[in-house]
Symmetry: T
């Protein structure tokens, strides 16, 4: 990673560099997530198609916005955010979402697993940021809160009696 051009006033260069690395990983995660949620939006089928198809789109919009916030935070810290698909695939530590056309419940199960990974990593990033920079920490807390809310939406489909 290249040297930083500058960083925000009052933050050390080394701390900034560590934040940038963590944020770049989250940026890849958010780009992957909004592509994956759109993919699921197109591929869910079954008798509850329309309800789940429509539930996914607002989350796509939110996650796209989170990628934007993360990338612009990287830029504020003086680095160059990377958002291309080739770099995303070569840098990431997780695999491609594997489900194609499938019933809504199957997709929700698979999405639940995706959120387990994303949120656990976000919480680690919050801890790191909490030691270095309250502004980055606050940004990550706000994003994670909404991801946790959406995961509850997903999980609520698996509880209770069947009908």
């Amino acid at each position: 990673m290249a040297d930083l051009a500058y960083t925000v006033p009052g933050l050390g260069t080394e701390d900034s560099q560590r934040l940038v690395e963590s944020l770049q990983d989250r940026l890849h995660a958010m780009n992957d997530l909004h592509l994956t949620l759109k993919h699921a939006h197109w591929n869910v089928v079954g008798p509850r198609f329309i309800a789940v198809h429509e539930m996914l789109d607002p989350q796509v919009e939110l996650v796209r916005g989170y990628a934007d916030e993360l990338a612009e935070r990287i830029a504020q810290l003086g680095a160059s955010p990377v958002g291309t698909p080739g770099r995303l695939v070569s840098d990431r530590s997780w695999s491609d979402y594997e489900l194609g056309k499938a019933d809504t419940q199957e997709h929700l199960k698979a999405i639940d697993a995706v959120y387990d990974g994303v949120i656990a990593s976000n919480r680690k990033a919050i801890t790191l940021a909490g030691e270095l920079d309250p502004i980055t920490e606050d940004l990550l807390i706000g994003q994670t809160a909404e991801l946790e809310k959406f995961q509850w939406f997903v999980r609520a489909h698996f509880e209770g009696s069947q009908a």
Copy 2:
């Protein structure tokens, strides 16, 4: 109940007093209902979670507005509307909604029963108001019409073939 400070022009004090009693009962019912619907909104689970979760919220908004209309009608009749939870619980003639986290169909069944009670009482209040004051009657008719529409939404989930 204290004496009325005044009442609307052209309406007798005693009639006003009887209307106030009936309206206060409906006010408690509406405050109970919007709290109960929100409670269900948070506690429904199962494979049709998102559709039912979202169906409940607009009704909550309507019922909150009905409580407001009823309370302000009581005030117009010169009395003091009571909207605190302690008074609601000590004054009401029905029990607390009992379902916690449960499948959407179970909650809809329980909500259906709640509407049976609320609407039957509303229709009695309409009959009383019809004898005393056309303006109060019209207000109650308008509210009951929407409650009956929502109960149809609820009931429609129990008819037809299973899937």
Copy 3:
């Protein structure tokens, strides 16, 4: 069919007459379709009521707009568009939608069959218009595209595992 009062500049009278006949048939189809979709909107029942009930309404709005476009295109070609129910029923080559109150999946199956007929006829009308008038062709392509999208919504409810 009466002689045309006029037609659009640059189009022959006979070609216009053939377009008018084809468009009048599509106008009957669209009037039938929006009535039928509303009928289904009112008659679906079962545990997925609310999701399907709400899915149908935006399509009703679109199809009403398509009837309007077709009728005004007929008028632009100098003829008189016919939109009354008596003429629709006596002129059409298909039968009334037969389902009353029934489960959402049953209605979606029946609607799927309706769309098979409507879209196949629209595609024939596109072919005819493609030979005579690019503007009418474009209008029909635009309408058919949305009908095909909605039929996919309907069909997606039949695929995948049951739940």
Copy 4:
């Protein structure tokens, strides 16, 4: 007509059945009316074309909404509302609107006659509902009020000096 699945709390089954029959007739009338007004919207001609063409559309929108309200009231009373064109034509007691392309004043005369019939029948339905159910009565009063307002718009074109 099939037995009712249920009806609104506090209303007898027989009364509900009578209301359903009356409301189904009004539903046919409203479906017929909005199709007829659109037909006129497309077929008016003459030097006052644009003013009358535009005056008809908002009324179409209102009447479509009235059909929706009536059908959903039928469903609330436990019956199945019928909205298909074949059933409309076979059940109705009036004839198809006969005017094709014609001057605005001719169409307004014909529409005036249509409203005479529709409103007179609505008033009978109000009287019946007034005996059975104040909520259905209120719904019909609200719709009739707007129909009477529009008929005044129509009639106002025939009074005063000619120009």
Copy 5:
């Protein structure tokens, strides 16, 4: 009063004539009332100026709309509504509002008295309309309900401890 050109379908001419007389009186009352409320809006002074000045304007808007509804109902019944100030003054049975620049509480007292008269007359008009025409009755009930709500706003300023 001239003979009616026509009236709404299903209503007798004599009944219409009686309704028109009652409605014309209410039309004068509403025209008087919105002028008077604007006059007060401009003339209130004192330490609570801004709150009362702003409270009056939405009621002016409502009352202007009520004049419009009443006048158009008269026209629907085949008569000519009268809205000129000269006729208002010569026909009315009450006096001009007398307060000029004065404290908010004084104006509210005077407005309270105006509403006593207007509402009492409205209730008589409701009773008459209730015998002749449910649509006119419903219109008057709706207007009176809002007038009673506003009078409560006014009255609420006189109760409780002074400050």
Copy 6:
């Protein structure tokens, strides 16, 4: 007229008094005008009813706003604006509008005459204000400009070939 409580900074008391007198006359004129235009709005008939009926309403809204501006200008100059109908009728130097139900062209002719008077008086008020206070002058110029535009709308109906 009572002494002024105050006036705007930099303007003499006597000049303010002269402005107030002129503005009060214009306030009566605007109150009269918006009542008269509404009266015409309700009473126009004939084959061009809908176009003229709708043309009048936006002007009513403008003129109501002009009355508000004039009255608040009087208040700014320290006087009490008078807006009641009794005072309007006793103070004005012109007669009540006389037309009842009549053809659109007749009403437009009568309205044209009303505007001749109103605008001529407004121009005199502009001249007076031009000598005393540029802010009042600017207010009157802005109002007169729109009145002259509307009078052109009215006049344009009388020119050209008949149809």
Copy 7:
């Protein structure tokens, strides 16, 4: 005409040049048309003034947008669109609109003739574009569709009985 700086990928330079010539002619036609429609908007008179005056403005807005689309398509093809009035007048093959202040029907007749010319030329441009570039073709089809709709509005004023 100067050499093209570039053209859209996949289109030959000579074909682009031919499209540019055709589009420049249509750009002049649209600039002429929106000026002419505004001129008519200002100069119509007679008893149907307001209805026709208002009918013309939305078409002016559309045609201004069409000029913009055509000019930007020329630029995309690498040429310089010409939009000045001097060049329009020296390049065009038709004459200035000749009517000044005149009755609405006269103006509508003259506008009808203008549309005959514009639409016939547009259809020739569609044919040419259809051979060279589907994107330009689609743009012209979309514009012509709306022009044909508006010409129907115009023509509808000449049919039917006189009044």
Copy 8:
């Protein structure tokens, strides 16, 4: 309290349980608070009625939203949020609001006392959440900030000279 069905990724079950208990207490507090503020909204009287009546409503809206956020956070942590009035009254550690119809200043004094309790408890909940979960902490900080702002609105009415 039942075992949790799940909790958010990266948070221990015991910590979640402790958060749920704290959040359920805050949920009761918010449900109580929005009912109480509405009760006051209906019961304030006196010469400053309208200003205080209107000041309370936006806070009601905010507090209703806070109840929603708290309940959905409880659900995200795998528990069942309780929102019924019976449970609220039996679980709470404070008494019902006691004021009925009373002067605005009296109600503001009583509301001030309510906020003292609510905010002090919220701050304790912030401290607890700060030890366990930054996302819950952030949610509570955001809500408390707005409550403190509103309490300032209330308190500002008691300072300064009397009038």
Copy 9:
């Protein structure tokens, strides 16, 4: 120029005629200006393309509105406004804008020169109108103020250090 059909109340015919001549010249100027600004909007190129391309469009919208105001003022004065391109070109005293595709700074220089001419002529028209009619004067002042603001936008691009 033909005799005026009428003019605004309180203005002499000769004065009106002089105003019409001046306003017609300004109408040609505004029609020329909005065409020229659109032409520049399409033909600017260079590294600051997007910023200047977007800066021009709101001014086009304003100037089109000014042409409308001027033409309608001419009509109010009883004359026929001329808005056709042929008459614009034959009547104007200035030349066509000559720049084709060119760098943003070149176009801004050329536009600056155009505004020098337009504004200087507007100020002469203001002086003339100031002697004859305060309403026309006010209209021209308002338009010129915005033109001067836009010219500042243009000029600001030429000052300061180069980059």
Copy 10:
């Protein structure tokens, strides 16, 4: 003050210079005024807190816009507008607003005095501009009109009976 870079077409350099000086003084006054009104917005207390607190904010918005208009007019005249607080304080001829936390009536009294000074100076600036440039004059008249309206709001709180 530096030489002007340019000025608006048709205005002499010396006149422009005199206008700039006058406008710069008004710019300081408006910057001071919007800061002062915000300061009062934060510091008013007492039983009428909420009404006065809310009344001040829209005026702050207006005055900020006036500062913008004045500064941009200075720029149009070729000079550099000065908007920094240091220059405001060193250039102004009046003192800082002195009231801290105080009752609403006290603040309104102090604000009234501020407006006396601002408006008197504005009227002098209008007189000067009237001799030099009608466009600057019109801008100042428009701003002063709104300031005088707001001062009336303020003053109206001191008249009438106390409560």
Copy 11:
């Protein structure tokens, strides 16, 4: 590629299969393009930063919508659209965008090259679709038209004199 579940009425299975392959390639292209444009949005620097930074975002929005349309068209043809980043990278025939933080002109050059490839491929897809399915053809034409417009925006930055 798996067999199709169904396809749109009137289209052969083999033709559908060929369309799906072409559309899947375009879907990958659009997903790549919107990620790339966002990447550029974050990485442009230099004195024209803000103008180019803001120019890119609306195109990102459009291209995201195009991916959605393409994927849903694939689903309508009975296949499963693929939108995950892993599959995009392994299936595509082009390389990752290579520029990091760089001057706006450099990025615009690189984006221009990307559009050369995307548009040329789109035009081939249009040709194929034109042989098989007019609805898919129309969808691709509409998308390509906007891409060509945006490429013109990009290209316009390279023409003309440097500054």
Copy 12:
């Protein structure tokens, strides 16, 4: 500084006093900043004028809002916020912004330096608040985040190749 009238529940008086001092300093900084940014908005010139002129205004709006939040937080803590220009200038520890009319890049350089100071001080205030009050801390974090984003906008203009 005077004693506090009260403070928020659960916060000590001394801690509140320390927060107030810190917040008052930030309030002066924000008032200074929005005035300075407006000053720059008016004084930027050069070939990139319009892009930078427009970029500054939304930041002015944000910073005005931040001043409001800070001042109201001071009031919640029981103190009197100071917002007058005289006190700002006498209390601040930095100098007036010195640039007058100058090229966009020069202003951006000077603004960059201003942000260095403001943000560094904000971060110190965050640290202090973090020790005393999480709500004040959160408010300052949110404001600083946006200031850092805007500074990145500014800084991005200095990187990369020159043009």
